[in-house]
């Protein structure tokens, strides 16, 4: 139990995982995201981005103002396929009977 600090609850990423990424040379937020998997779960970084950015500032000595958030990915929140499937933006292929 001692010293285990979970920073990303969706993907179980700990402070130690972040330290390890930095030791490997993966020191910017996008690299740490990929190396640890933080921010790729259901919350898509909404919970963990701040704490991990703070940890990174401390570990690398970078000024917090220089750490930009990673690119946020659509959709805004987990969204069922059926809602997208009904959207008129969908391309219709030649094999679809109901193609316009």
């Amino acid at each position: 139990m001692s010293g285990k600090i979970v920073l990303c609850r969706c993907e179980d990423v700990t402070l130690h995982d972040v330290e390890h990424a930095v030791a490997r040379g993966y020191a910017d937020l996008e690299e740490v995201k990929r190396y640890t998997g933080f921010g790729t779960g259901p919350c898509q970084g909404k919970e963990c981005l701040g704490p991990i950015a703070c940890a990174l500032a401390r570990l690398t000595g970078a000024a917090p103002s220089t750490i930009a958030p990673f690119t946020s990915r659509p959709p805004m929140q987990p969204t069922p396929l059926k809602l997208f499937a009904a959207d008129p933006a969908a391309h219709h292929f030649a094999d679809e009977e109901d193609a316009p």
Binding site: H20, R24, Y35, T71, P75, P78, L81, A89
Partner: protein, 407 residues
Amino acid sequence: MIDGDGDALEPDRGAVQATVSHEPLPASAEIVIIGAGVIGLSIAYQLARRGLTDVVVVDRGYLAEGASGRNGGGIRQQWSTAMNVRLMQRSVALCKEFATELGVNVWFRQGGYLFLARSRREVQRLEKNVDMQNALGVETRLIDAATAQDIVPELDPTGILAAAYNPSDGILFPWPFLWGYARRAAELGVRIHTHTPVTAIERGRPGFTIVTPRGRIAARRVVCAVGSWTPEVARMVGVEVPTWPIRHEICSSEPLKPFLRPMVAELASGLYCSQSMRGEIVGGVTLPGHGPDRSMASSLEFLATYARRLTRLMPVLRDVKILRAWAGPYDQSPDGNPILDHPPGLPDFFLACGFVGHGFMMAPVVGELYAEYLTGGERHELFAQSSLGRFHGASAADIAKEDFNLG
């Protein structure tokens, strides 16, 4: 911890060797590889394995920033040209050994690839490919819709005329592949400098000087492995490369209990999807009518089209939630085949581009063949067939066009 070298294996954190270097650039190298994507790193690792360790890899961004970090991780031997089938047979063999050899779990899973045909013409394409693949020793079978449904019970067989299934195709998780190549290459002496954009390449006698904001490197030879950015970099040495970027979108669902064994792909729409080892359904679809595009933006058109085709094919997924979507650049070549070897008149500058969205699966074998060639070994027939010169000479008609660049 993805790379499995956390606490248990490395109790002394101080012993962790940095994979990517933040030290000053070296003044010179035998080979500078531009591009730390999977192609560049595979070549770097294979060179180092053969004892050529005076190699520097530079990249404008970070590992996995470009197409190598944005693809679906598919690895297949079902192709329409014999060359690509043979190459991918070797790539699959290398993927099987990757985790052991590189000490990283890439979550490689051979669940097969299932290609679905919805028209007579598509069936004929599959038939032709299956015969050729079988002759080369790939065990692809042409099956009917009912048999496809035995493999994936969630499929709606309506409108499916036939399918091609090869059980030894598979998927892997792309990111650890890069870290694995990079880490072992670095351990062998290769220096990898990310966040180091090349702004100019000066021609020397012999060799080149690679110019970056972080310094200059004198290189005897250069390998240009920058995917869809190749035209810009090649122009720095006066070479015109006729490839162009195509934005390709992809998305990932919430994790589900494992149910989907193969990668499923539809010829009619370019729809493909697989279930990753994390349980997510990862997939994409072809969006017709889009020209060259350097953007990596996501679109509602993509999510709507993908969702429409996927829920039509597997209605049971209707309530599954999409977690995130992203995009990456395919490096489209005029004939769908890669461009390798040195351009005419520039014997020390080597191209590795034009993989049309399939560079990831080709990288293991391309790295091996390139390293063999660059260390004085065999020049595989692939290089003669893939030269830039084919687009300018009479030999253009002799190149077998690859028409199985799906998704």
